[in-house]
């Protein structure tokens, strides 16, 4: 996987750009790989994705370190732990490699961090839908893939604040619950919640496996109609439950486009260009970048997508 044909290697021997993903082989990053490859074809650049066989910061460090020795023009990365990468990214920069990151607000030592959206806004958006669905009343809980997953914690944090400000009738009854991004674990935790809070009205998920697991528990309890389930997921994983109404709505962004956006930024930087507020990457959702306050290298697109059962059918990942 990832090895380009001999022809493309010679044709573009000058420029190689590598995207380091959290883990290889899952649908999300396969989709990103599609975007990365398509971008390479379009621009005639040697592009590929690399990643570990499980989600671990140390494997990403190892991969980036190995890549530095290969001297690509750019490394773009979706870090498992932004902080843990800071030192290896410094080394990359020192070798003149352009570095771009994604889903890593606050990361240091990259030229640009590109976010599909503002995490706080995204969290608020989910909560707005959840609050509307629950008519602003009742108990709810939030799931995160891991208590160590930074973006998940930002989403649920912003959502919680938004709820307190805008839906005073709602109540979060537990601190964020950890699902380890495992569908079965999410299912079991959801069952516990249903037993502990018979009147629960809402679930917010963060990891892709959260809402399918929660939905399974809801279906078994026959509470599809009584409980609102919303959160980040991908259409392929959620479609089955969207159809029965056990998931009400999912939120996501297209990783293929995010992959392209990272590479486009790297290309602009490598040709001496600059990324500024308002820059148009020519990619859907990234037509007018915003700069995130409080950071000097974070730019935001407007690429979040929300989908109900109908809308989700349009996506094939």
């Amino acid at each position: 996987a990832g090895a380009p044909s001999a022809a493309s290697r010679t044709a573009t021997s000058g420029t190689t750009m590598v995207t380091v993903v959290k883990v290889k082989g899952i649908a999300w990053f396969d989709r990103m790989d599609e975007g990365v490859k398509a971008y390479g074809q379009e621009k005639g650049i040697d592009t590929r994705t690399e990643g570990g066989d499980d989600v671990s910061p140390e494997k990403q460090i190892q991969i980036i370190q190995n890549l530095i020795a290969q001297q690509p023009a750019a490394i773009t990365v979706v870090p498992n732990s932004p902080e843990a990468l800071s030192s290896v990214l410094t080394q990359a920069k020192a070798k003149g490699i352009i570095t771009v990151s994604h889903e890593a607000t606050g990361i240091k030592n990259v030229d640009v961090d590109i976010e599909a959206f503002d995490n706080a806004v995204y969290g608020q958006k989910i909560m707005k839908s959840l609050g509307d669905c629950m008519s602003g009343q009742g108990e709810y809980v939030q799931f995160v893939g891991g208590l160590t997953a930074k973006t998940h914690m930002e989403w649920v944090g912003a959502a919680h604040e938004f709820q307190q400000a805008n839906f005073p009738g709602m109540k979060r009854v537990e601190d964020p619950i950890e699902s380890t991004d495992n569908e079965t674990a999410a299912y079991q935790k959801a069952k516990e919640i249903l037993a502990k809070y018979p009147n629960i009205k809402g679930f917010q998920g963060s990891a892709g496996n959260d809402v399918p697991g929660i939905a399974r528990a809801i279906e078994e309890a026959g509470k599809e109609k009584d409980v609102c389930v919303m959160g980040t997921s991908i259409p392929s994983a959620a479609s089955k439950y969207l159809a029965t109404g056990s998931i009400d709505k999912i939120f996501f962004w297209d990783p293929a486009l995010a992959g392209k956006a990272q590479l486009e930024i790297a290309r602009i930087l490598s040709t001496g260009g600059k990324i500024e507020p308002g820059t148009d990457l020519g990619i859907e959702g990234y037509h007018s970048l915003k700069k995130l306050d409080g950071y000097d290298n974070v730019f935001l697109g407007d690429a979040s997508i929300e989908a109900d059962a109908e809308a989700a059918k349009k996506y094939d990942f």
Partner: protein
């Protein structure tokens, strides 16, 4: 093991010399090896007594988190002073490692809990403490002395690698040249006979796990020196990897036999294969397959060779040596 190391090195040097033999790549290998190597040595030590220590990575993280928190707290008051306190901060990290090892040791030797269960439990406890402590966030901040240590090289060799070499030599001496080391080996070979030979099994076991905890603490220092950050879930993929390295390096999982030198070589070999695979643009999955094949091939070769050579000279590779 040495042969394998040379084969691996030669193979990748021929296949992709430009990348594989670059200084950067070699330095990277030398930079990545120490943290894995130190944990592997700790695992080797636990396995030498016939046990296992699954909590090592959690201990290392807890130690790194302690150091980072201490530094950040001190630096909030007076950054200059915090830098000066670096040695004390490092000592605190080591102390956390020792404490973690002590708890393991007490559970294993005092209560007599099977090591795999005791350390599986403490792995979760230490990891849980780290999660609760950091709220799951990755902490950044560490004394610049430590960070510099991670970045600097002497004659092209990273200092961290030198540190690893020192630790390895110290452990080689400990195992083969001290009474404690001899007792650890004997205890692993036959606990009953050890008892009847006047070896204080409990105390030795306790010392062993305290030592593995200490190595965990050292690994925590290496973590934070390589990256000035600390988090609860760094290195979780190391837990099984270091067992692979330990056995590849000639440690008998039933106890009694291990070789520090073998473990060092095994660490380097796997690093070389890993970076060689990336240089060859092979995927992580293919690397996982290769790692398994290497393990099986080396062990089968060892076994077959052992059966064909003089039984009385049997297992020279597994005898403890530095």
């Amino acid at each position: 093991m040495l042969i394998l190391l040379i084969i691996a090195f030669a193979l990748f040097s021929v296949l992709n010399p430009a990348v594989f033999l670059s200084t950067t790549n070699l330095q990277n290998i030398a930079l990545a090896a120490p943290e894995i190597g130190v944990i592997s040595l700790a695992m080797m030590l636990a396995m030498l007594t016939g046990g296992i220590d699954l909590s090592l990575v959690s201990i290392a993280n807890l130690s790194a988190i302690t150091m980072s928190t201490l530094f950040t707290t001190l630096a909030a008051g007076d950054p200059g002073q915090a830098e000066q306190m670096a040695p004390l901060i490092v000592l605190a990290g080591l102390a956390v490692g020792l404490a973690g090892g002590l708890v393991n040791g007490l559970l294993v030797s005092g209560l007599g809990i099977t090591p795999i269960l005791a350390t599986l439990g403490t792995m979760q406890i230490y990891n849980g403490i780290a999660v609760a402590w950091t709220g799951g966030k990755t902490l950044s901040g560490s004394p610049s002395a430590l960070t510099n240590l991670g970045l600097s090289t002497v004659g092209g060799i990273p200092i961290l690698f030198g540190l690893f070499a020192v630790v390895a030599i110290a452990f080689g001496v400990l195992i083969s040249r001290t009474p404690l080391g001899l007792r650890i080996q004997l205890l692993g070979a036959n606990p009953t006979a050890a008892r009847y030979s006047g070896i204080a099994n409990r105390r030795i076991l306790l010392s062993t796990y305290v030592l593995t905890g200490l190595l965990g603490g050292i690994a925590g220092i290496l973590f934070i020196a390589r990256n000035p950050t600390a988090s609860a879930d760094y290195g979780s993929s190391y837990v099984l990897l270091v067992i692979v390295i330990a056995v590849l390096g000639g440690t008998n999982p039933k106890g009694g036999f291990a070789s520090v030198f073998g473990v060092v070589l095994a660490t380097l070999t796997l690093q070389i294969v890993s970076s060689g695979f990336t240089a060859m643009r092979l995927s992580a999955y293919e690397y996982a397959i290769a790692q398994g094949l290497i393990l099986l091939a080396v062990m089968t070769y060892d076994e077959v060779r052992r059966r064909w050579t003089k039984p009385v000279r049997w297992r020279p590779a597994r005898r403890a040596s530095s």
